[in-house]
Each structure stands twice: as structure tokens, then as C-alpha cells.
């Protein structure tokens, strides 16, 4: 610990703490621009300068490590003049037209910093040079006039995401934020994660969809979780007048620490273009007609009563509470022939079986991925389906993290991998055993051949794994497709041999599927749906999009009932359509891929006449004469041995 005095206050901080962070701890405010708590310090804006006793010049507090007995003053004449000078120069460099900028009036850190210094005008006028505007990107604009070259966006794109699309070209007064080697953002390697927009202190990077829809003080903020995939990243939902304005990453969330991907940040806005269902509909004379809730529910209930073979499927975007009701109704009460989730256990069944066999969880925590110095990815396309997990890997590659990619199909992680293995026939059994054999110094040749991979590559991969101090193994749907229980057992053994599973840590993780994939597994919703002579099929779709495959499978089913938020081919084809809330209009619990039980909080009031998923199921149950238990969802969730330890 070091003792440091700031403005007369004596405080103790761990060694390595910067003066800026120490001041924050002591509730002393030092103005900053290029600094951001989630990024490494830059020291370029020179706004955070402080006076250190004994130092000849003012020092940037954001980079200066506190040392024992350091005496710091954060406010005096010299510092105030320096701050005014810095701000004066910044405003004079480019064209800061505050009058019509969307962040002016409270959301611009540059403007706020100037007002904080009691500046009401620019002592130095700009030269009025022309700067470019890049509006080629689908989701945001880069307005160079407003850029202060704080490099937050460059650092975020590199340090948080590992994509390194944004950089700086030229030097000195010609410096400019640029995408790749100087291409429009819309044509660049940008993956639309939006981290740069979130960290930009001025209006240089502006979100297109939410521009001018309100300053932060005018918006309602709801802390919730994203249900775009099984990661369950923490988000802040900004809404106004019951309308979704913008989604940002929650810097304090333990899963993602503030980063989001395109699916979580921008795709929810797509729903604005979809057709919403506001009223129940029943098919009469070949056409879907609006009906009352009572009529619609009864239509479903009647059919279910007389159906000899029924199948029921629930989307894994539904909250756990709804999935619990769904399971009770169609499983326990109606005892339908198939009660399953839309994933049909593809991501979870086998692993659940292994956990049951072992009598205990065998997978570890996703946060191990953030610290891993070697990651083996087996049969999972992280970039495509669980993108934020790929950030944890990509951003560590410059720090020496090695990557081994094993996948039959092409996948983007292979681009940054040290070793790429492509086992033949979508079968990973032999590959896993080959890797284990290599780690245990046993013969590899036959196994490598059986797997259809190069022996030297296997050995190299094993060497890298063995040399790692914190290896991690991630696997997914592609591996599970043709796997057996033995495959998973071999995988666990590989985990032990490689060090991914050890005394103190467990870094074996499967990415599962959608948001509540794991909850569906816990409720046993993992059957494969066989459509032979089903007379009735019930799909609790929620706000999910049905796949073409599913629609085709249900083509010839005589009676289909769907509870859904949006129109689709499925609802167009159905016999009864029951309108339900979408994810922003409901509250519910979600179990993420490594067992974290989180709550999705409701920011928006549901439209008139639309019910929650849970309410619809309860109504249906009532119509069938059943009483469903609502409160026991959590107990039921915890009953089955989970593949990863469940925490709250």
C-alpha cells in the first residue's frame, strides 16, 4: 500500500494505482476527457494535469502511479490555466458546432468540461478547415468535426473487442481516426459492436437510431440483461415514452463488463420493422380472423383435449418462469408426446446426461475465458452465435494468448488461431482422443489419421496447451451434433490433462444455444420432436423467429397454435395465434451458459390487449381445467444436476 496526500486528504491505495483513481477513491473530482475506467490510460488530452510537489511540470494524473508520500494538489491557479488552455486548443482544432449536435446540452463531455471551467466562449477561433463525415455505416456516424482525438474508440476497438478496426492515420495536426487502412466504416472490418460509440465523449460517434431522441436525463434507464444468446450480457436499456431508444453495455455487469455485440445492441431495433400481432386470431373458413381471448384460448383448449398426438415446443427466449409453466402444462398435465424447446436439446442434452451420470456439474465459468492464455475452441462458431465470448479471446491475442481452432466448418476464430484442425465427418471423438494422447505422450498417429487431421498439427496444439498456464476449452453445437456420452467423457479428460480443469479453476465451457438454453435443459425440455401423425402442435414462440426448417417440418400438421409477438410464416400458417409480449415488455429469469441466474427487467409497458407468455399459458391451463404452480420455478430449476454450478 502507498500513502498519498491529495488536496490535504491522506489516503492509502494499493501500489500501482494511478493518482486519478486514488482521487476518485477519495471523492476528489479531477476533470478528464481521454480517460475511461474500462480502458488503459492514454495521457493525451492533458486535462487531468495535477501539481505534484517536487515535480517540475504538471503531471497527468491518469497515468501517474501514486508513490509513497506523494503530495498532490488538484486545483490551483496554474492548473486552472492549464485546463483552460487545453480546452481552448481543443475547441479551436476542429469545428465544434454545438448548436445542433445531439449530445450538446449535457451529454457532451467536452462541453461539460468547458462549462465546468466557467468557459462561456472559445478564446481562440477555429480555422474552419473542412473535415469529413462518414455515414456509410449502418448503425452509426463518424463526424470528424467533433473528434478530439482522445483515442477512446481506438482503445475500445482494440482492448475491449480485439477487432482493431479503428486506428489513427497520419500524425500531428493531420491525425485522424480511420477505419482499417482508410476505408469508409461501412466497408471496413467493423463488426458493429458499438463499443466505440458508447465510449466516445463527444458527438463524433453518434448512434443513428437514437440520435435526437433525448438526452440521457430525459431517458429512462433500466438495468437488464440481453437475451440475444446464452451469455446474458448486462445491458442498460434506455427508453422514453414507452419506446426503446438505445441499448448500451452495462460496465458493471459481471458477464460482459460493458461490451456488447451487434445482436444485443442493434438488432433489437429491427423489431420496429416487423409486423406486431396485437390481437388473438382464429382460422375460420381458411382465413385467420381476429377473435377474443376467450374464443382463441377455447379453440386451442378444445383441440388439445381431443388430439391423440400432441407436440409442444417452447422458444428458449422465454423466461424461466414461463418455461416452467409450459413444462407443467404440456408435460405433467397434458402429457403431450413431445414437450421440448426449440433447440430440442441439441446444445444441452448430452451434457446434462453426463452431469446426471457424474452426479455433479463438470463445466466451469466463462470468466476463465477472459484470463486464459490458451483457448481451444471445439465445434463452436463463437463469432457467429456468441460473439461477446469471442471478444474475450480476440482481445488477448496481442498479449500472447494462443488459440487452437477445431471445427469442421469455416469459422472466423480460425483466422486468428495458431493451429487450425479440421476433423473429418463432423466427428470430434478421435480428435479429442488424439489431443489427449499427445498431452500424455502416447502415440498419436492412428488417432490423428482416424480424425482426418495432420499429426504434426495435433502435436503442436498439444504442445501449446501443455505450455499454457491458464488454458480454456470451449465447445458447442457442432461438436455435440455427432457426439456420444463417451465424447464428452473424453473431453472432460482432455480438460484435466490440459489443465483447463484443475484444483482451483474450471475453464471448460459449452456455449449452449439461446438465452434460456440452460433453463430449458434444467426443466428437461430436450426431446427431439418427431412429427409423424401429430394432430396438434403448440409453439410457445414468444418474440423468437421461427426457422425455415421448423416451418417446413410443421407443414402438414392439421392444427397449429402459436403464441407469438411478431407475424411470421408460422403464424400465417397457424390455426390459432395468441399475441404475447416481447422481451422488453416482460420480466423474467434467465440462466446463462455458465449457470448465472439473472433477471431481465421490464423497461416498456406491454401494448393493450397483449398478454405475457406466462399469462397465456395460465389462461390455457385454466381453460383445460388445470391449476399450474407459478412460484416453484426456481426450486424446479435447481432440481436437476446442472452442467455448471448455478449461482445468483
Amino acid at each position: 500500500m502507498v500513502h498519498i496526500t491529495i488536496d490535504g486528504k491522506e489516503i492509502q491505495v494499493p501500489e500501482g494505482t494511478t493518482v486519478l483513481r486514488a482521487a476518485e477513491q477519495a471523492d476528489i473530482h479531477i476533470p478528464t476527457l481521454c480517460d475511461h475506467p474500462a480502458l488503459t490510460p492514454f495521457g493525451g488530452c492533458r486535462l487531468c494535469l495535477v501539481d505534484v510537489k517536487g515535480a517540475r511540470t504538471l503531471q497527468t494524473s491518469c497515468t501517474l502511479p501514486a508513490t509513497d508520500n506523494m503530495v498532490v494538489t488538484t486545483d490551483n491557479e496554474r492548473i486552472r490555466e492549464a485546463r483552460k488552455f487545453v480546452l481552448t486548443l481543443l475547441f479551436s482544432e476542429r469545428n465544434h458546432f454545438c448548436p445542433y449536435c445531439q449530445v450538446s446540452g449535457g451529454d457532451c463531455e467536452l462541453q461539460n468540461a468547458a462549462y465546468e471551467q466557467d468557459m462561456t466562449h472559445w478564446p481562440l477561433q477555429p480555422n474552419w478547415n473542412k473535415y469529413d463525415l462518414d455515414a456509410s455505416h449502418e448503425y452509426f456516424i463518424l463526424e470528424q468535426d467533433r473528434c478530439i482525438l482522445c483515442r477512446r474508440c481506438v482503445r475500445a476497438c482494440g482492448e475491449l473487442i480485439g477487432n482493431f478496426t479503428l486506428g489513427v492515420e497520419e500524425r500531428g495536426a493531420d491525425s485522424s481516426i480511420v477505419a482499417d487502412l482508410g476505408v469508409p466504416l461501412g466497408e471496413s472490418t467493423c463488426i458493429s459492436c458499438g463499443a466505440c460509440v458508447q465510449v466516445c465523449p463527444t458527438g463524433a460517434l453518434i448512434d443513428k437510431k437514437s440520435a435526437y431522441l433525448g438526452h440521457e436525463v430525459q431517458l429512462d434507464k433500466t438495468e437488464s440483461i440481453c437475451i440475444g444468446c446464452s451469455l446474458g450480457c448486462g445491458i442498460d436499456i434506455y427508453s422514453r415514452d414507452n419506446r426503446l431508444v438505445r441499448i448500451e453495455g452495462n460496465w458493471d455487469a459481471s458477464v460482459n463488463h460493458g461490451v456488447l455485440c451487434k445482436v444485443g445492441r442493434y438488432l433489437p431495433h429491427e423489431a420496429e420493422n416487423w409486423d406486431r400481432i396485437y390481437t388473438p386470431m382464429v382460422r375460420k373458413d381458411g382465413k385467420l380472423k381476429a377473435a377474443t381471448w376467450e374464443d382463441a384460448i377455447n379453440a386451442v383448449a378444445d383441440q388439445l383435449k381431443q388430439s391423440s398426438r400432441t407436440a409442444a415446443m417452447a422458444s428458449t427466449r422465454l423466461p424461466a418462469e414461463s418455461l416452467y409453466l409450459f413444462k407443467q402444462l404440456f408435460g405433467d398435465k397434458l402429457q403431450a408426446d413431445t414437450v421440448t424447446s426449440i433447440e430440442e436439446g441439441a446444445n444441452t442434452k448430452l451434457a446434462a446426461q453426463l452431469a446426471a451420470d457424474l452426479g455433479s456439474p463438470f463445466e466451469g465459468s466463462l470468466s476463465e475465458l477472459e484470463k486464459a492464455d490458451c483457448v481451444l475452441v471445439l465445434g463452436a462458431d463463437l463469432v457467429e452465435d456468441h460473439e461477446v465470448a469471442s471478444f474475450f479471446i480476440k482481445r488477448n491475442v496481442p498479449h500472447g494468448t494462443r488459440v487452437i481452432s477445431a471445427g469442421c466448418a469455416e469459422n472466423a476464430i480460425a483466422d486468428i488461431a495458431d493451429v487450425v484442425l479440421k476433423p473429418s465427418g463432423d466427428n470430434y471423438d478421435n480428435l479429442i482422443q488424439a489431443l489427449s494422447a499427445a498431452l500424455a505422450d502416447k502415440p498419436v498417429t492412428a488417432l490423428a489419421k482416424a480424425a482426418g487431421v495432420d499429426e504434426a498439427a495435433v502435436k503442436e496444439a498439444a504442445r501449446i496447451l501443455a505450455a499454457a498456464n491458464f488454458p480454456a476449452i470451449v465447445y458447442g453445437e457442432a461438436l455435440l451434433k455427432n457426439a456420444s456420452l463417451n465424447t464428452l467423457k473424453a473431453l472432460v479428460e482432455l480438460g484435466h490433462l490440459s489443465g483447463a480443469i484443475g484444483e482451483q479453476r474450471n475453464a471448460l465451457v459449452s456455449v449452449k444455444g439461446k438465452a434460456n438454453s440452460m433453463a430449458a435443459a434444467q426443466y428437461g425440455l430436450e426431446q427431439a420432436m418427431e412429427i409423424s401423425d401429430e394432430q396438434a402442435v403448440f409453439i410457445a414462440l414468444g418474440d423468437d423467429c421461427p426457422s425455415q426448417k421448423l416451418i417446413k417440418r410443421l407443414e402438414n400438421v392439421p392444427f397449429i397454435a402459436v403464441q407469438a409477438s411478431y407475424s411470421s410464416q408460422l403464424t400465417a400458417h397457424a390455426n390459432v395465434v395468441l399475441p404475447v409480449t416481447d422481451w422488453t415488455e416482460q420480466e423474467g429469469s434467465y440462466l446463462n451458459l455458465d449457470g448465472r441466474l439473472q433477471t431481465a427487467v421490464q423497461p416498456i409497458a406491454a401494448p393493450e390487449g397483449v398478454l405475457t407468455n406466462a399469462a397465456v399459458l395460465e389462461k390455457l391451463a385454466a381453460a383445460l381445467g388445470y391449476h399450474l404452480d407459478a412460484a416453484g420455478w426456481k426450486d424446479e430449476l435447481l432440481k436437476r444436476v446442472p452442467v455448471a454450478i448455478i449461482t445468483e
Binding site: 488530452c45 502511479p65 481552448t88 486548443l89 479551436s92 466557467d118 489513427v168
Partner: protein, 555 residues
């Protein structure tokens, strides 16, 4: 063998075309004929600049230059000069037909004090592509002695005792820097030679590397041994292609001889050297920006602390030294700290390689003891101001040095004396200006350099240098105001105080010097709308939009 005289015959392509081979052989025959082969050594010489008097021969120790030579002249020279000890009449090369290094030797003749050549001892006189030439002149002796008989701490103590200070511009005590790195715990350490010489007007490091690369290689090995490093890098400016080539060759030769690589001379000390090329950025001469560039990132200076001595290349303790600083190491280790202290002043011992440029009669590279004055340099080595002009100002140390007025001509050129007067030696470049040069124009040229070379990380420098340049240009066009001078003072003061690195802080210094010492001239541009020397355009048109810096008290 202790020769009493040495004859060097020019062996460059032009000389060879004109029969230098035959002349060389004739010298050998004549020397042998008079049985002088144990007293007079004969060798080739490559660097004759663009001299016209070729082929030529230089006889040492008198440094007499004979040329252009005909075969029959050889007998006369050997008999008269080498045997009888008097200059052979009528055969000396006219000064006006000499250039480059050879001109120097000529300039020093007669009553001039000989340069005290420690650093430039061999440059231009040996074949830089021959490791044998270097070894023959006590090359790698220092390293061998150190590896066999000295502990790293002893090496550092000797460097400290010598008082050697960094020659790149900062003047930091070298021994102390070595000690910082040596005492930082860590298994992996690095040594870096900063050969990014980008100060305008400075080319001393280039001559050193091109002329005597092995000296620097040996110095790096000694430095690595002293601080505990096993890997080193030369960061050579991208434009210095020949220097890079010579270094790579030197490293290869040293490796072949077991003087680099694993287990050097059987001592157990390993040292591997790499040559890395810069890519045209002055800022990469700043040590932390250099390290960033080596790591493959944008060459922008880091925030300090921490310093490279504790947290340098790849986060490891790193020693960064300038080429000239390193060139002092082998001589100091060979001859001792006391010997070194015999040169220069007490606080700034040793010699300094300076480049004299500008309006003097003879320009080029010289090695002078620390403490010599500017007036002596101009009159002795520059042979006075050209065309009878008068000294007006000198720009020392490249752009990040200072502007010296005539009142400081007699100030000793050592780190202390200059600092006391608010000026700095910098890298040793001396741009001599006379009454035909405009002080304002000099300020513009310098500020232009800074704004183009600014890395752009911190805004006082990125924006401040640009603005200062614009204001200066406006004054040079005759549309300046007295308010502009206030703004310039304000900008340079803040540039010096608030910048992230040396580029910004020293961008303000020459400007401040000019405003301090040449105010009447600058004011003439503003008040009288006249450039006293007639250099500035004074078109009356605005070069840049005029915006003034309203004093912040009004805010």
C-alpha cells in the same frame, strides 16, 4: 608495431581509375627501398568526398595532403617527407579541390590545434566493412578485457567515474542510467542504440555508424554485459540505408568471430543484436516512442513515469543510449576514466562531435572538447564566416536545441554553462547564420518542422505548434500584430509546460529564444511591415485566417 608515420592512399573508384593502384604499389616499393617498412605504414583510404585532387595521399602525423598524384611524385614524397622529414614542395593539394572529411584534415594544418579525436578516431580512416581493421586498432579489446576480468558493477563504476553524459541531447549521466537498469530486478533486459538521428543538421551518428560500425557494436555488447541484458536493438533511421547495411554486416562479422551470439569468447555471456529500421518519424528519436515503434505500434511517447529503465521494451528494463554516447564506451574502458576526464570540463568531460553548417567557410563534422566556445569553433574549424559576413545567430542542437545570439558566442559549450544561460547544446548541430538570415524566418522553419513531426498524441503540441506556425507565417506576410506576439508567448509557454514529451517542450524553446534576443527584428515585421533582411515574403496577404487568442482572464 609502432609506426612513426602513416601514408594513406585514396582507393575510391575515381582514384582507382586514375592509377591509384600503381601509386600505392610505388609507395610500397619506395618505402621498402629506403628500408622504412618498419617505420612507415601504408594503407588505403576510401572517403575523399567529392575531392577533385585525386588520387591523393595523406601523410600522418602531419596530415599533409598530396594530390593529384602522378607516379613520379611518389619518389619525391617518400624521400623528402618520410625520409628527410620535410613537406615535399609543390605537391600539396589545393584546398579548394578538396571536400568532405579530407577538407577537414587540410583545414587543421599548420597552426590549428588538432582535433581531439576519440569518437571519430577511425571513421573515414579504416575500411568499415573490415572487422580486421577494427581489431587491428585495439578493436574488441575492451570487451575481451571486461569479459575476462571485470564484473558488471565494475564496468558501471568506471563509466560513472568517467562522467560521461548522454550525447543525444539530454545530457543525462550515462553511468547512472546504466546503474538504474542494472539495479532493476528482472531476468529479461534489453539495450537499445538510438540511431534515429532526425535532428535537422545532424549527421554525426551516420558518419559514426557508416565509418566505424564495430565501435558501436562493441559498445552495445559492453553495455549489455554491464546491465544484464542478452538482447539488443539498433533502431536506425529509415533513410540511413547504408548505415543499416554496414551495421548488419558488422554484426554478421562479429558473430562469425564469436564476438556476438552465444558464449562470447567463452565467458558464458550471450548477446544477440538486431537492426531495426525506422520509417521517417522524428518523434521516434524520443526513447519511449522508439520503444513503441520497436514493438510495432504507433511511435508515440509513453506517459512517464514509468521510465524505460524499469519498464521499457515489452515492459522489461531497457537501456537506451545514443550512438555517440556509445562510441565513447570502448575508449573509456580501454584507457580509463581518468584519461577521459582529461578532456572537456569537470562537469562535462570528454569530447563532442559537432556538425558545423551554414554560412561559414568550411562546413562538416568536427570533434571538439566540451567547453570550447562557439567563436572558437567558427573561427578555427569553420575558418570564419563566409563572404566576410558577420555572425548573427546560431541554431544549436537541431530543432530541439536553442537559438544562440552573438552575446553567447564566448560561453563554454558544455551542458552546465549553456543551461545556466537558458540555452542547450542538444545534439551538436551548429547552424551558423549571418546578417543575411532572418530570425523570424528561422523561427518559421523550425516551427514548421515541429508541426509536421508532432506525433499528435497530446493536444498542446499537436494544436499548439500548428497555431504558432500560422501566426508566424502571418507575421512573415506582413499582417502580424503585437497581439500575435502575446499569443506566441502564451503558446510557447504552454507548449513547454504541458506537452507530453520533449518535442512539444522544446518546440517552444527556439521561439522563446528568438523572441528574447531578436525582438527588434520581429517587431519590424509587425510595426514597420518590413523584413530587415528581405527574406520574408511580406506580401500583405493573410497566409492563414487571423484569429486572435482572447486573453483568458476575459472568459
Amino acid at each position: 608495431m609502432n609506426y612513426r608515420s602513416m601514408v594513406l592512399v585514396s582507393g575510391d573508384p575515381r582514384s582507382m581509375e586514375r592509377g591509384a593502384r600503381e601509386i600505392y604499389d610505388q609507395f610500397q616499393r619506395e618505402i621498402n627501398a629506403l628500408e622504412l617498412e618498419n617505420e612507415v605504414s601504408l594503407a588505403w583510404m576510401q572517403d575523399v568526398g567529392r575531392s577533385d585532387a585525386v588520387p591523393l595521399a595523406v601523410v600522418y602525423p602531419e596530415a599533409t595532403i598530396y594530390g593529384p598524384l602522378k607516379l613520379e611524385d611518389v619518389h619525391t614524397i617518400v624521400e623528402e617527407h618520410l625520409y628527410k622529414g620535410r613537406i615535399a614542395p609543390g605537391l600539396q593539394a589545393p584546398v579548394r579541390e578538396l571536400s568532405g572529411h579530407i577538407a577537414w584534415i587540410s583545414a587543421r594544418q599548420g597552426t590549428l590545434p588538432a582535433e581531439q579525436r576519440i569518437i571519430l578516431k577511425r571513421a573515414g580512416l579504416i575500411d568499415p566493412t573490415s572487422i580486421e581493421d577494427y581489431i587491428a586498432d585495439d578493436g574488441y579489446q575492451a570487451l575481451a578485457n571486461i569479459l575476462a576480468n571485470m564484473q558488471p558493477k565494475e564496468v558501471i563504476d568506471q563509466i560513472k567515474a568517467s562522467g560521461l553524459r548522454g550525447r543525444g541531447g539530454a545530457g543525462f549521466p550515462t553511468g547512472l542510467k546504466w546503474q538504474f537498469v542494472a539495479s532493476t530486478p528482472g531476468e529479461q533486459k534489453y539495450v537499445i542504440c538510438n540511431a534515429d538521428e532526425s535532428e535537422p543538421g545532424t549527421f554525426k551518428d551516420r558518419v559514426l555508424i557508416e565509418g566505424d560500425p564495430h565501435a558501436i557494436v562493441e559498445a552495445m555488447a559492453i553495455a549489455a554485459y554491464a546491465v544484464g541484458a542478452d538482447e539488443g536493438y539498433f533502431y536506425v533511421r529509415g533513410e540511413y540505408l547504408l548505415a543499416q547495411k554496414r551495421l548488419r554486416l558488422a554484426i554478421q562479422q562479429a558473430e562469425e568471430m564469436g564476438l556476438l551470439g552465444e558464449d562470447i569468447l567463452g565467458s558464458g555471456f550471450n548477446f544477440k543484436l538486431h537492426v531495426h529500421s525506422g520509417a521517417g518519424a522524428y518523434i521516434c528519436g524520443e526513447e519511449t516512442a522508439l520503444i513503441e515503434s520497436l514493438e510495432g505500434k504507433r511511435g508515440e511517447p509513453r506517459a512517464r513515469p514509468p521510465y524505460p529503465t524499469t519498464n521499457g521494451l515489452w515492459g522489461k528494463p531497457t537501456l537506451v543510449n545514443n550512438v555517440e554516447t556509445l562510441a565513447n564506451i570502448p575508449p573509456i574502458m580501454l584507457n580509463g576514466a581518468d584519461w577521459y576526464r582529461g578532456y572537456g570540463t569537470e562537469k562535462s568531460p570528454g569530447t563532442k562531435v559537432c556538425t558545423i553548417l551554414g554560412n561559414v567557410n568550411v562546413t562538416g563534422l568536427i570533434e571538439v572538447p566540451m567547453g570550447i566556445t562557439l567563436r572558437e569553433i567558427i573561427s578555427i574549424y569553420g575558418k570564419g564566416m563566409a563572404h566576410g559576413a558577420h555572425f548573427k545567430m546560431a541554431q544549436t542542437g537541431g530543432s530541439s536545441g536553442s537559438v544562440i545570439p552573438s552575446t553567447l558566442q564566448d560561453t563554454p559549450m558544455d551542458f552546465e554553462s549553456y543551461q545556466e544561460n537558458g540555452v542547450s547544446l542538444g545534439s551538436g548541430a551548429l547552424l551558423i547564420c549571418d546578417e543575411n538570415n532572418c530570425a523570424l524566418d528561422l523561427a518559421i522553419v523550425l516551427m514548421n518542422f515541429f508541426r509536421k513531426e508532432s506525433c499528435g498524441k497530446c493536444n498542446p503540441c499537436r494544436i499548439g505548434t500548428e497555431r504558432a506556425y500560422q501566426i508566424l507565417k502571418n507575421i512573415a506576410e506582413g499582417v502580424g500584430t503585437m497581439q500575435d506576439l502575446e499569443d506566441l508567448k502564451f503558446l510557447s509557454k504552454n507548449l513547454i509546460e504541458l506537452s507530453n514529451c520533449g518535442l512539444g517542450t522544446t518546440a517552444g524553446t527556439p521561439l522563446e529564444n528568438i523572441l528574447q534576443y531578436f525582438m527588434p527584428e520581429v517587431e519590424a515585421h509587425i510595426k514597420l511591415k518590413v523584413c530587415p533582411t528581405g527574406v520574408c515574403p511580406m506580401s500583405g496577404k493573410k497566409a492563414y485566417p487571423k484569429t486572435k487568442l482572447v486573453q483568458l482572464e476575459q472568459a
